[in-house]
C-alpha cells in the first residue's frame, strides 16, 4: 500500500492521471483507487463522469446520513448528480461504452505488460473473478489509464513483459501511474515519463519486470495542475 509507504499517495497518483483529462471528456472510473480521480479540482474543465449503472454526470460523494439510497456510482458509493445529469439503463450505458463515446477509463490492475495488455479481473489460481464492466470499457474506451501499486504485496513487479494472469484486454493501456512514477506505453514499449519524489531511477529499474525506456533527465511527477 502506497499510503505511508514509498512514493506517491493514492490521491497523488489519481491527481496526476486526472490532470490528463481534457475539457469535455466523458470519464469512467473503475472501483478502488481510480475513484479518487473524482476528488481532483478540474477548475474550468468540464468533466462528465459516467458510471456503468447508467448514471451520467455524477458529482461528489454524499456525507454520512445524507445518502440518496436510490443513487450510487459503479463502485456502490452514494453520489450526487451534477446539473445536466441523466440516467439510462444498463444496455444504453454500455452502448455509450461500446460505441466509443468514453474518452478515458481509469482502471485498477494486477499487472500491465509492455505491449499494453493488462490484467485486473482474476488473481493467479483464483476460481471465478470480478469482470464487472472492465472488459467492455478496456476494449472500447478511447484511452485506458491504469492506477496501481508499483509492486505486489510480495514485492513482485506489476509492470511486466507479458501478463502471467488472465488478461482483461490486449494492447489497450496508454498510461500507468504507480506510487513510483508515471509510465507511458508507446509503440516501442514502456517508457518512464515522470518519477515520484523520494524514488530513484535504480529503484524503478529494480521493481520493473520489463524493458523500460528512461530519458536522461526524468522529470518529477507533476503534483498540481
Amino acid at each position: 500500500m502506497s499510503d505511508g509507504a514509498k512514493g506517491l499517495t493514492r490521491q497523488q497518483m489519481c491527481d496526476r492521471l486526472a490532470m490528463e483529462f481534457q475539457d469535455g471528456w466523458i470519464v469512467n472510473l473503475g472501483i478502488g483507487i481510480p475513484t479518487l480521480c473524482s476528488n481532483f479540482d478540474f477548475g474550468d474543465k468540464g468533466i462528465i463522469f459516467h458510471a456503468e449503472n447508467g448514471v451520467i454526470g455524477y458529482g461528489p460523494l454524499t456525507g454520512p446520513g445524507r445518502e440518496d439510497l436510490h443513487l450510487v456510482n459503479a463502485g456502490g458509493q452514494h453520489v450526487t448528480l451534477n446539473p445536466g445529469a441523466a440516467i439510462v439503463h444498463h444496455a444504453d450505458s454500455f452502448g455509450i461504452i461500446r460505441s466509443g463515446r468514453i474518452d478515458v477509463t481509469v482502471l485498477g490492475a494486477y499487472e500491465v505488460a509492455e505491449n499494453g495488455d493488462f490484467a485486473n479481473w482474476k488473481m493467479a489460481g483464483q476460481k471465478g473473478g470480478g469482470i464487472g464492466g472492465a472488459m467492455d470499457l478496456a476494449a472500447c474506451a478511447k484511452h485506458v489509464f491504469v492506477a496501481m501499486e508499483q509492486v505486489t504485496r510480495n514485492g513482485h513487479p506489476r509492470l511486466v513483459e507479458r501478463c502471467a494472469i488472465p488478461a482483461t484486454a490486449r494492447g489497450v493501456v496508454d498510461l500507468v501511474i504507480t506510487n513510483y512514477g508515471l509510465f507511458a506505453i508507446t509503440p516501442e514499449g514502456m517508457a518512464l515519463r515522470e518519477i515520484a519524489p523520494g524514488v530513484t531511477v535504480d529503484e524503478i529499474k529494480a521493481t520493473t519486470g520489463c524493458n523500460l525506456s528512461i530519458p536522461r533527465e526524468v522529470p518529477p511527477v507533476r503534483l498540481r495542475g
Binding site: N53, Q126, G133, M135
Partner: protein, 255 residues
Amino acid sequence: MPKNKVYPSFADAVRDVPDGSVVGFGGFAVVGMPINLYKALAEQGAKGLTCVSNGTRGGATLPADGPDMGWLIQNGQVKKVICAFTAPTRASQKLVFSEYYEKGLIDAELVPQGTLAERMRAAGAGIPAFYTPAAIGTELAEGRETRIFNGREYLLEEALPLDYALIRAYQADAFGNLRFRRSQRNFNPLMAMAARVTIVEVEEDILPVGAIDPDDVHLSGIFVHRLVKIPPPPEGWWPQRPGAVAKLETAGNVR
C-alpha cells in the same frame, strides 16, 4: 385492461416458479434489487435454479445476512449463476457463493457486464445473437466464434432469455407501467424484456391505470405481469443507510 396484475403478497407472486427455472434478479449495489422477492423465493423453495444477476450479494445498504442470492444458495436452490462478478470486489468480503462454487456445488458463467445487459436486451428485442468487442483476446473468448467487421475482431454472444425476472421499481400503475428512481433502473428493464414472466416489488402505492404520464413511463406494462407493493418495515425489506446497517450488525440483531 387485461387481468389484474396486482398480487396481495410476495408469496402469491412467486408461488408458481417451478424447479429448474432461469431467473433474473435486477439491481446494482442493492439499488433496484428485489430484496423481498429474494426472500419470498427462498421461502417458496424452487430448486435447480439458474440465477442471472450482476453479482451474488447485496452491498453496504443491506445487512450482510439480508435477503440476497446467498439465501437461495444456502438453501441448495441454485444450480448455476450467470454474473459479471463471481468473486468479491474486495479481498475482505466473503461471498456465500464462493464457498459453494469452490466445492463444485454450483456452476458459474462469468460474463462482462455490458455483454450480460445486451444479452438480455437482445432476448427481449427478438435478436438471437450479436457481436461485441468485449472479451476479445481473453480466456472468455477461447474456442468461441469470432468475426472480423471493418478490420476489428468481435465475439459472438447469444441472447439470454429468462423464465422469470424479479425486479424492484419506484412507481407502478395497475397495468404494470413502471418508473424507476435514479440508479434503480440499471438491469431492471432489460431483465423484464428478456423474461416470460416479470414480477415487480414496488416502493410506492400502486397507482390507478393512467396515473403515470405516458411520456414518463420507463418500462411499458407489456413487459410486466405481477406487482406487489412493498409493506413498510419490518414486514417489508428496504435498504438502509450504511451507518444504520453497521450499527445493526454490531448489535448482532440482524433480521
